[in-house]
Amino acid sequence: MFLTPEEYEMCEGKHGPGIEKAMKLLVQMGELFGAKRMTVVDNCHILMNDPIEWVREITEGVTKIRAFTTMHPLNPCQHWEEMGIPESAVKERLKQGEERNKIYTGIGMLPIWSCTPYFVGSLLYPGAIFSWSGSSGIIVGNSVFAARGNRDASVMSIASAITGRTPEMLLHKKENRYGQFLVELENLDLEVLTEAEYGAIGYHIGAQAGSKNVVISGMRHKPSFDNLKYLLSPMQVSGAVSLCHIVGLTPEAPTLKAALGGKKPEMKITLGRNQIEEARSSLNTVQATAVEVVVLGCPHFSIREIRGVAQLLDGKKIADNVRFWIATAEAVYNVSKQAGYVDIIENAGGRFITGCCAGPEVARLARASGIKVIATNSARAAHYIARVAYPVSSVLFGSTQECVNAGVTGKWRA
């Protein structure tokens, strides 16, 4: 692999032990996956769960990161106490979490504590190179923004943040970005689909497509950005899809032919109402029943979604025995507060869990505190809760409207 003199120096330890360790990891990965050189990366997003011993090593001697870098939700969640979660659920993680956050902030990483950096000023554009760990951001960045990022492990994004480099490989190259797995939508009037139905479509596609690039054709209506988020984000948990073109909608898919690069797809499926219902019911692990917790915001809620829930909850009250949580970024919360949405939701009894992950982290907290039934509008969260909180918590999966109704009545589909 070709290295510039500066990159070579980084590898040789001339810029300190942390940068050396980071560059060596990037070089080894580049050599494994056929990279001929490094490319400059100016937009990274890192997870908050690497062991503190490793964090100390990779940042040793690093005074300032070289790429603009944002942080994933905090580990553990900072709102556990007001959420009614026992200290035992977070105790072992608190000290490490605090030190990790301090180290990362100290070298210039931005504490946005969100899985949706694109809602908090970390913007991508077509062709921009990015290294975002946290799989929902990777597929949104590649598909909707047409930026170029690989499914980078947490350690790769940290190494890229520190060095400002990533090996040029895989999805960075146009020839690796064409669709391989074609999904033809059948008789779906997408205007009336809920976020849960978009999620079910994505969940079904991910399970079939594995790690192949997906192309969806036959989407007649343009979904909102939020619905794109619900469509794309489950493909990374039922499968490992990092790029999904939507013909007539996403930048690299003006036509089906362009999305496929003029080639035939390796596989083709059709998807209609039956597949949506099948995926939807596979994500419900319990029959309609009393609900203890409603969790929204996986991926993190947008201002528009917060406004939508404020409209649904205006003048209503969350049932006494229900905990109603909305996960979002602190910055999005602040704007929603100014707009008056936060007060409406909090007055109704809802609670914002800013900087907290509504997927695996809420599942961990639920398991540790014995919460039996959780309702969510996110296919991605439903997948994680069913696994990480197994066998303690069961999942009810439906639209935002159904989740709000469950919050108000305390019952599913009452």
Binding site: D50, R151, A153
Partner: protein
């Protein structure tokens, strides 16, 4: 029997083999505190991976997999070495960052010539896997 392989992550190790006939993710499949394979209903449920030569098809799953691999290694509960058919980016980064010796692309299909319980030496740096008959 000596097999040639491609180095994924440097190092040498020897030990007893555990074969997993499918893809593997550190996050979700392995408990980094105990080293136990923790997927309910899986053929390997309850088996301990610590110190084993772990053979599987390829990696899958969350970008946080590398974090769990490092944690398992710090706890001395990681596999001694890993062998797979073909790596993907998450499992490769996990092996390199955690310092677990690993190879892929063996010149014979490991699922045909190596089985659970065999004693195997892996020299990942040289790209050699030796199976003791």
């Amino acid at each position: 029997m000596e097999l040639n392989a491609r180095k994924v992550s440097d190092g040498r190790a020897e030990g007893e083999v555990l074969v997993c006939n499918g893809p593997f993710s550190f996050l979700g499949d392995l408990d980094p505190i105990t080293g136990v394979f923790s997927v309910k209903g899986h053929e390997l449920e309850g088996q301990n991976l610590a110190g084993k030569i772990f053979i599987f098809t390829t990696g899958r799953g969350s970008t946080a997999g590398s974090s769990v691999a490092i944690q398992a290694k710090l706890n001395k509960k990681a596999p001694a070495a890993m062998v797979c058919l073909e790596v993907e980016p998450i499992i490769a980064a996990a092996a390199i960052a955690a310092g677990i010796p690993m190879v892929d692309r063996l010149d014979k299909n490991p699922f045909e010539v190596i089985k659970t319980g065999d004693f195997v030496k892996v020299d990942a740096t040289k790209g050699i896997v030796v199976v003791h008959e």
